[in-house]
Symmetry: C2
């Protein structure tokens, strides 16, 4: 992973609550060259994996999932917070770092045996990604891998996600 | 605008509330070929406009803004609902179709005289886009255009946005 990308991540102390150091990815995003480089690294990792669809988690996951779907020629499946998707959905509850929540997917979003790459910006405790992955599997999708920009390794998210191939561009 | 893209938009009656027909873009997104075609049409429209940054509105705007930023080699600036951005922000309030809300941008997201393309999935009453555009202008950005997948023309959003160049792929 090029160090230049890691340097573009900005620490924000006490966000969203006291004692948490938030990793702000916006300096990386707002630099067109760095953003493109990040997507290209993800693309190279998965271009030969015959990805049919990318399932991206609202809302920062959309940013990486969408550009990657475009580059791979894959479809994009949004996984959203409860009540946001307009059609028939299935949902999964999960605990997250700062409380509890629920994610939803359209029930027609993934077809049986489609090869799906899961994308989010950041792996923290892994709760959101685990719930999202279970939704894709419930619909019959085959999860080819989980792709993150950042892995906060000290939160040990990968322990919840042991059965999957996990790729992250950088670790903190 | 290719009719095939328009056919991929699904009507959802009574969402998010009774009497509203919601335009569901997920069938277009989940088809890799159609999604790529939509982005390519936007790209052709703006590729010679020397776009420095794309300002994309949370959260469906991220989907089109991100892929387009990647293709254009532009930076991506997220415009988000209040309280979501971690760094110093400026915000703007606005009325929207189903209530009132506020959008924020990082105060360092756009530099003076940078050429910015505003992106969202759907133009309804135009309130969100107007507030978002004012934020970019407050930071000194020059708005090259506003780009939407869909214009709900019967809501007359363009009347709020007369000073801008508006492009939409399809109208309903």
């Amino acid at each position: 992973m090029p160090n230049i990308l890691k340097k573009a991540i900005r620490d924000i102390p006490d966000f969203p609550k006291e004692g948490v150091i938030f990793k702000d990815i916006t300096p990386l995003l707002s630099d067109g060259e760095l953003f493109r480089r990040a997507i290209d690294i993800m693309y190279k990792k998965f271009k030969n994996k015959e990805i049919d669809k990318i399932a991206a988690i609202e809302s920062r996951g959309f940013i990486f999932g969408s550009a990657l779907a475009y580059k791979l020629g894959a479809g994009l499946v949004p996984i959203r917070k409860k009540g946001k998707l307009p059609y028939k959905t299935i949902n999964a509850d999960y605990d997250l770092e700062y409380g509890a929540s629920s994610v939803e997917i359209h029930s027609d979003a993934v077809n049986k045996d489609e090869r799906v790459l899961m994308v989010d910006d950041l792996l923290a405790t892994g709760g959101t990604m685990k719930a999202a992955s279970e939704l894709v599997e419930k619909l019959g999708g085959e999860i080819v891998g989980l792709c993150f920009l950042i892995d906060l390794t000290f939160l040990k998210g990968i322990e919840k996600l042991k059965k999957y191939n996990i790729y992250s561009l950088m670790e903190f």
